[in-house]
Amino acid sequence: MSEVSVPLPHGWIGTTSQWIEGFGVGLVVLDLILLALVWYWMRGRDPLPRLWGWVLVAAGLVPLLVGFMTFAHGLESSATVSACGSCHVMTPFVRDLKDPKSETLAATHYKNRFILRNQCYECHSDYGLGGTITAKLEGLGHVWRYTTGRYTMPIKIAKPYANSGCLECHGESQRFLNSPSKKDILPDLMSGKTSCLDCHGPAHPEQKKEARL
């Protein structure tokens, strides 16, 4: 894949996530300094009357702000491709995804930027609030199984891939709706009677049977 440097819009000041990360790190450093100072000032016999304000700020107010920022940053980051790829069992999938020569569905969507970002998450989570909650709960299960080693190789999708994952984007596209090849099977695709993956695919590369590391 040719590497090009896409010009940023005039006046680019970074993404929201980058700002949250920056402010969050700054607040953590500030709070660590405040906590150390409060701890130091507490050495006296009865230092409380002059310390209450600082204690409440250092151990209460600033950590609350840090908590909000870390939660927002962590939640957004947990949907990125790099988050999915951080578990080594996902390495073959992410490697294929980013391989410009690969013809799998995942790689095709990635290299052509059919999905702009968070490509794993966009396809593997249902839409709406319920989809997000379910995806996060399933992700929690993945972390548990990964850290405790309760998984089997090769990795398989937990349930058959629903057409709604494809139709969320393609379903209302005129190119898709007017495609001659789709005309006859459109009702079956919409109802889920026929899977998109019956004709298109594979979504990911075949996994070699390998020992669990």
Binding site: A59, M69, V143
Partner: protein
């Protein structure tokens, strides 16, 4: 909980818990892996809740000692 020493002890525990919370938050902010975020959600945040609870107890004790409450 009328002795200042007891209140300072509570505050010291709260400060240590806040310190642990901050370190775990820093890990998520710098390197947000799913495991780090899970630990933050299910370990760091409950620890911070305990720290806030201890702070409230210490504040109430201080106000009672000053006969405000």
């Amino acid at each position: 909980m009328t002795e200042p020493g007891q209140r300072i002890y509570l505050l010291r525990v709260a400060i240590v818990l806040a310190l642990v919370f901050n370190v775990m938050a820093l890990v998520v902010l710098i390197r947000p892996t799913p495991i780090a975020f899970t630990l933050f959600m299910f370990l760091a945040q409950p620890l911070m809740a305990v720290a806030l609870f201890l702070l409230v107890i210490a504040v109430v004790a201080e106000l009672r000692a000053r006969q405000v409450l």
